[in-house]
């Protein structure tokens, strides 16, 4: 390795340790690392800002930004509250049935929106419903965080790691839905079964409390019917844009930006409202991270590592996929799965090579491992951290171990089932 390559690896490792140990803010860590690499000449304007392989992946940034703006506008309509209360009422106030409907709403919403946004929207309604049902909200909130991570696995836009994988591997919305959608449906069914074992069988129904839920008026949640219609139309068009990518060749980031632009125009909201849910810190973190990982690509470390791994694996797809899925699952439970996936994507890209190759299914192993592994611990996924924060603020603290006790079981079961699906579909039946 050249001295520059060694320097890039050292800086990258230090930044990773800082992120994992949470000694300093993760944004400061990645920007500091990128700054050092810029000072020693590894990152330049061309490699850091303009080159798709070594710099900031603007497709990812703008896809996230566009979806965040769409959520900011749609949120103003009250539709999320409407759907969640309607779901609880459809369950007729029976405690476990309410949990199932809220889990399904969360999972479906997470497939279409960012997981954190989804739990932020669903948690207040859940607390209200639990209050009226006279049920402890903790099991419901934990179940929703776990469901959001499972549901988000199904689509390109459901979980940030999928957006990174999609952009780096050239996989579109349909590819994610086709390859990961079926297993996510199975995993959700299994998760509902686990939820029954973990919580449902001890829940006691209360007819009077059920009446309290039935008296909630979901229609009152809709604050702007005209905007709701506009949002519904634009969301459908955005989804159509994602699905028809192979025909239109309009990238998902452009589709999301166009959708966001139309919604901003028709809603006539001010910047404060339509930028309310844009997580600038997340976007800046992604930018710094892309430059850091890109510097490893630029100095040739990723190419060497990928080539070495590809030679070691040979054509043993089952071995490679098994290791990738479970290692990704375990590591994603401990560290943030976004930097993990950002680091792994160029390596997997080197292993799979250009175009369609025999190791292509490794992308699905990476996505399944990284997305589902986040469920294992209280800090494994952003949605878990957010839900624990909301619970504590509302006087229902959930300890790290309480969450992790349920999360480990769900992550282990879903990872094993996902591995069986992956092995069956891409190795045994391929």
């Amino acid at each position: 390795m050249t001295p520059t390559a060694v320097a890039a690896v050292v800086v990258f490792a230090v930044v990773y340790v800082l992120i994992a140990s949470e000694k300093i803010d993760r944004i400061a860590a990645v920007l500091g690392g990128a700054g050092v690499l810029a000072l020693i000449g590894v990152i330049t304007v061309d490699t850091g800002f303009h080159a798709p392989e070594t710099g900031i992946d603007w497709n990812v940034i703008f896809l996230l930004f566009g979806m965040m703006v769409i959520v900011s506008v749609t949120k103003q309509t009250g539709v999320f509250e409407y759907v969640a209360i309607l779901a609880a009422k459809l369950a007729r106030g029976r405690p476990f049935a309410v949990m199932v409907t809220l889990v399904l709403v969360t999972a479906v919403a997470s497939a279409l929106l960012d997981n954190v946004t989804t739990v932020l929207l669903i948690a207040p309604v859940t607390l209200l419903v639990c209050d009226r049902l006279r049920q402890a909200p903790e099991p419901y909130l934990i179940a929703e965080a776990l469901a959001s991570n499972i549901g988000g696995t199904a689509t390109l836009i459901g979980d940030p790691p999928n957006i990174i994988i999609g952009s780096r591997a050239g996989l579109d919305f349909n590819a994610f839905l086709w390859h990961l959608g079926p297993i996510v449906v199975v995993l959700l069914a299994v998760f509902i079964g686990l939820a029954w074992l973990m919580w449902g069988r001890t829940m006691v129904a209360d007819a009077k409390a059920a009446e309290n839920v039935m008296r909630l008026d979901e229609k009152e949640a809709i604050s702007n019917p005209r905007l709701l219609v506009s949002c519904a139309v634009v969301l459908l068009l955005v989804l159509a844009g994602f699905v028809t990518h192979s025909i239109t060749h309009i990238d998902p980031s452009i589709v999301a930006l166009l959708g966001a632009g139309v919604l901003v125009a028709v809603s006539r909201l001010g910047p404060k409202e339509f930028l309310e849910d844009v997580e600038w810190s997340t976007l800046v973190f992604f930018m710094g991270l892309f430059m850091l990982v890109g510097s490893l690509v630029h100095v040739g470390v990723i190419e060497q590592l990928g080539r070495w791994l590809a030679e070691s694996v040979g054509d043993r797809l089952l071995f490679a996929g098994t290791v990738l899925l479970f290692v990704s699952g375990i590591l994603s439970a401990i560290i943030d799965n976004i930097p993990y996936v950002a680091t792994l994507t160029p390596i997997v890209s080197e292993m799979t090579g250009p175009g369609s190759g025999p190791l292509d299914p490794l992308w699905w192993a990476l996505a399944l491992g990284a997305d589902l592994g986040g469920n294992a611990t209280a800090i494994g996924a952003s949605a878990n951290v957010v839900i624990i924060g909301i619970a504590a603020r509302n006087g229902h603290p959930i300890s790290f171990w309480r969450f992790t006790r349920y999360g480990v079981l769900v992550a282990a079961v879903t990872l094993v089932i996902a591995w069986a699906y992956w092995a069956l579909r891409y190795v045994v039946l391929a």
Binding site: E81, P124, I390
Partner: protein
């Protein structure tokens, strides 16, 4: 003018007093809050009506105000029934989150009260003599006094 001349009777309660009774006392006197006293009669905090509402209204309703529209009157009644069994201390922010109470002595001036209200955002200033609470100057009392002075001049 000295605060001794401006101060009015004002509802006050000790930390261990029943919260519901304290709130009724405040409402009956048409005041915007109550002054919380320690065992020796010294002001510890000003508990405003807004703070009382914040203490009983669930956090999730404050996070998502749109949900307030979907609850019926029964639910609203139950929320306010949460005052039952609570003490005045339960309605105060946690000790580390509390700011210094707006307190001045009987010899302090109306200008000092005005500055304190503007700086703390408090709608009243508790007035003490030898450290013991004797009354309060409310913002409406202070502004009325200022307006009367302006007219006289």
């Amino acid at each position: 003018m000295r605060l001794e001349e401006l101060a009015e009777d004002f509802p006050a309660a000790e930390l261990g007093a029943d919260a519901a009774e304290a709130v009724l006392q405040m409402a009956a006197a048409h005041r915007v809050g109550i002054v919380v006293l320690d065992g020796a009669g010294a002001p510890l905090a000003v508990l405003t009506g807004a703070r009382i509402l914040a203490a009983v209204i669930p956090r999730y309703l404050r996070d998502d105000p749109g949900l307030a529209r979907v609850v019926d009157q029964n639910a609203a009644d139950e929320i306010f029934e949460r005052l039952a069994g609570k003490t005045v201390a339960d309605l105060l922010p946690r000790r580390e989150e509390r700011s210094e109470p707006p307190v001045l002595g009987v010899d302090d001036t109306s200008m000092e009260a005005a500055v304190m209200m503007a700086a703390t955002g408090s709608p009243l200033v508790a007035v003490t003599r030898d450290g013991r609470f004797v009354g309060a100057v409310t913002i409406s009392r202070l502004l009325r006094f200022a307006a009367e002075r302006a007219e006289e001049r």
